[in-house]
């Protein structure tokens, strides 16, 4: 019996992964909501200090997979996951990994800005406070200021730090949420359609911000806008019906996709 098994065809690794270390990785991930099979045998490697974009038609499982990366799916009772997801090589679903701690390493920004009904200062101070990251009030104030600066919001709100965060404009609120997320010094920031509720000017501000943040963070962004993916990301993954169809360098995906479905999607044939 020497029936030659077909040679394992490995897709060529994206260029971007060659010059950046791997941050997160998924191997053979399946996710079910009750009977619904939402993610099918998905494997992917996400590089550090770069922006990875997830694109694909609605309902294909982008959000589901994104939420698996910081175990937010744990909060949905019907949701079950198998397979392995790692952060710096460590399986995040290990029994001795606490999701609470994981989420301080892997932050998240949502589609709709969701500042807490507290002051701007308290919104940003929320994470450092619960994780006990700052010993003194001065240190806390410093960290809040830094985070707001990194999020490009400090100049606009420095005179009203103690007014409610819900009083800001939509774009400002979303940057506040980004400031809130980076205040705990995460390594990865997940963003689920962070600009879909914003106008073009606010969107441009956030895109700029994402581009700056990639110097220090590993960023994963879900987007429906192919232009946005093309503008901000270095690596793009195309999802379709719960599977990862294709992933690679953004310029290559958008200029020379290998899969017909990707081709159809980016040329607007469906989705």
């Amino acid at each position: 019996m020497n029936d030659a098994s077909p040679p394992l065809m490995k897709p060529p690794l994206p260029r971007i992964l060659a010059d950046r270390p791997e941050k997160m990785a998924a191997r053979g991930v399946n996710i079910h909501y009750g009977d619904k099979h939402a993610i099918k045998d998905l494997s992917i490697t996400i590089p550090d200090r770069a922006v990875s974009a997830f694109i694909g038609p609605s309902g294909c499982g982008k959000s589901t997979f994104l939420r698996a990366l910081n175990r937010m799916n744990d909060t949905i009772p019907s949701c079950r996951m198998t397979g392995a997801i790692t952060l710096d090589g460590r399986n995040i679903n290990d029994p001795d990994v606490d999701p609470v701690q994981l989420r301080s390493h892997v932050g998240m920004v949502f589609q709709k800005p969701n500042p807490f009904p507290k002051s701007i200062f308290e919104n940003v101070a929320y994470g450092p406070r619960i994780h006990g990251l700052c010993a003194s009030k001065a240190e806390l104030e410093q960290r809040v200021e830094e985070s707001l600066k990194k999020a490009g919001l400090f100049g606009e709100v420095k005179d009203r730090l103690h007014q409610p965060g819900t009083g800001l404009s939509g774009g400002q609120q979303q940057r506040l949420c980004i400031a809130r997320a980076i205040a705990v010094n995460p390594e990865v920031i997940l963003m689920d359609e962070p600009c879909s509720a914003l106008d073009p000017i606010a969107t441009a501000r956030i895109e700029e911000l994402i581009d700056e943040l990639r110097q220090n963070f590993c960023i994963v962004i879900v987007t429906h806008s192919m232009q946005q993916a093309a503008r901000v990301s270095q690596l793009t993954a195309f999802f379709h019906l719960g599977t990862l169809v294709e992933f690679g360098d953004t310029d290559k995906i958008f200029t020379a996709p290998t899969d017909q479905r990707t081709q159809d999607y980016i040329t607007g044939r469906y989705g």
């Binding site: 710096d88 001795d96 990994v97 606490d98 701690q101 390594e187």
Partner: protein, 402 residues
């Protein structure tokens, strides 16, 4: 490099706080459930003896003179003393007589009226034991003379029966004879009046507010008013009943009519709110369709919308009824709190209701009344439970999703 280790002291502290918080929540629910369970067990434990009564079969020899004089009391006493020949002193005789209920003479009279017997014959009379003897036999008290009890059980066949009397008799000064029939009928009449009036006015108001009312100051006032009325303490409604229905209108005191009037006002907000919710749940397309085929506004509402809202309204009515059935305080104020042995025949007779009967009995010193009180509570809760179960059934049965 990330440090995803769980062995961090801050995290351990936070996890402990989390577990503690969760335990507080579980403890609150457990405590509340436990309270309810304990309440029910306590009531049932106190109340079940009232559903059992002890009787003896006493052979009564019909002395001709006493029979002619209709001196049934004397006949019973003779029969009793014939069985206790050793009781000679006044004290001993009293102790023996205290074992038997005073109702024995009426029971004998009734028995003889039904099946006449000639003088000289011996008939078997079913004689109810007194409350003290009954409690002694149930092991609940030792107020009766133990020697007399021993003699009694040795000489006469004592049997335990389910106490139908509890449901077929009105109130009585004698604990062993007291029943809840009067109170139940009183409750029935009162709730019927309350529900009848409450439904008429409540549903009419709901239809007006939901379907016809223009948005103006007047309807606004009505609306705010209904919400506030729902939270007015029930005892205030009693003051209203006293001042207006009794004093100003001169309606009969203690009557189910006045009780029902007061309770109808009390349940009005409940019914209005439930009926409005039911009407609101009927999609506007139904009304529009009816209007579209040429029905008038009135026809559309009364022929098409109202029937569809009926199950919801009914559920609200049952819940209002349950509320009225358990209400006590306002009825105290309009005189439904007197001792009334007769079963009321109409809504203008003096009557009492089950919750008030419970209140009255709970104040009495006799131990037997304590178990009667608990037993009456069991009946009250059983009725409320049935009403709520019916409401839930109706809601599930007719709940429609458009």
């Amino acid at each position: 490099m990330s440090s995803l280790n769980a062995q961090n002291p801050t995290l351990r502290r936070r996890r402990a706080a989390e577990a503690r918080f969760r335990r507080y929540g579980a403890a609150a629910l457990a405590l509340t459930s436990l309270f309810l369970a304990f309440l029910i067990i306590d009531i049932v434990g106190k109340g079940w003896p009232a559903f059992v009564e002890h009787r003896v079969e006493l052979p009564v020899t019909l002395d001709s003179r006493k029979l002619a004089e209709k001196n049934y009391d004397g006949l019973i006493k003779d029969a009793i003393f014939a069985r206790f020949p050793e009781a000679q002193s006044r004290g001993q005789r009293k102790a023996v007589l205290a074992l038997f209920s005073h109702s024995a003479e009426q029971a004998l009279a009734a028995q003889l009226a039904e099946a006449p017997a000639a003088a000289g014959q011996t008939v078997k009379a079913e004689v109810l034991l007194s409350d003290t003897a009954d409690l002694h036999l149930k092991g609940l008290s030792h107020l009766a003379d133990p020697a007399a009890i021993d003699a009694l059980t040795a000489r006469l066949p004592v049997t335990a029966h389910f106490s139908w009397r509890f449901f077929s008799h009105g109130d009585s000064r004698e604990a062993e004879e007291a029943g809840i029939r009067g109170a139940l009928i009183g409750s029935l009449l009162t709730v019927a009046v309350a529900l009848g009036l409450g439904l008429i006015f409540g549903v009419a108001a709901a239809i007006y507010l939901e379907e016809f009312a223009p948005k103006n100051r007047l309807t606004d006032i009505i609306e705010v008013n209904i919400n506030n009325l729902a939270a007015v303490p029930s005892i205030i409604f009693g003051l209203l009943g006293l001042a207006v229905f009794l004093n100003a209108f001169g309606l009969p005191r203690s009557s189910p009519l006045v009780g029902g009037l007061v309770l109808s006002l009390l349940v009005l907000p409940t019914i209005i709110i439930a009926a409005r919710a039911a009407l609101k749940a009927v999609p506007p397309s139904i009304k529009e369709a009816a209007l579209g085929v040429g029905a008038s506004e009135h026809q559309a509402v009364f022929h098409h919308v109202l029937p569809l809202a009926l199950p919801g309204i009914l559920t609200g009515a049952i819940l209002g009824m349950a509320r009225a059935f358990g209400e006590t305080a306002p009825l105290l104020m309009i005189g439904m709190v007197a001792f009334i042995a007769d079963v009321p025949g109409s809504i203008s007779d003096a009557a009492t209701v089950l919750p008030v009967q419970i209140y009255l009995w709970s104040d009495l010193p006799e131990l037997a009344f304590r178990s009667k009180t608990a037993a009456a509570i069991m009946v009250l809760i059983a009725v409320l439970f049935a009403a709520n179960a019916l409401a839930i059934y109706l809601r599930n049965r007719f709940e429609r999703r458009w």
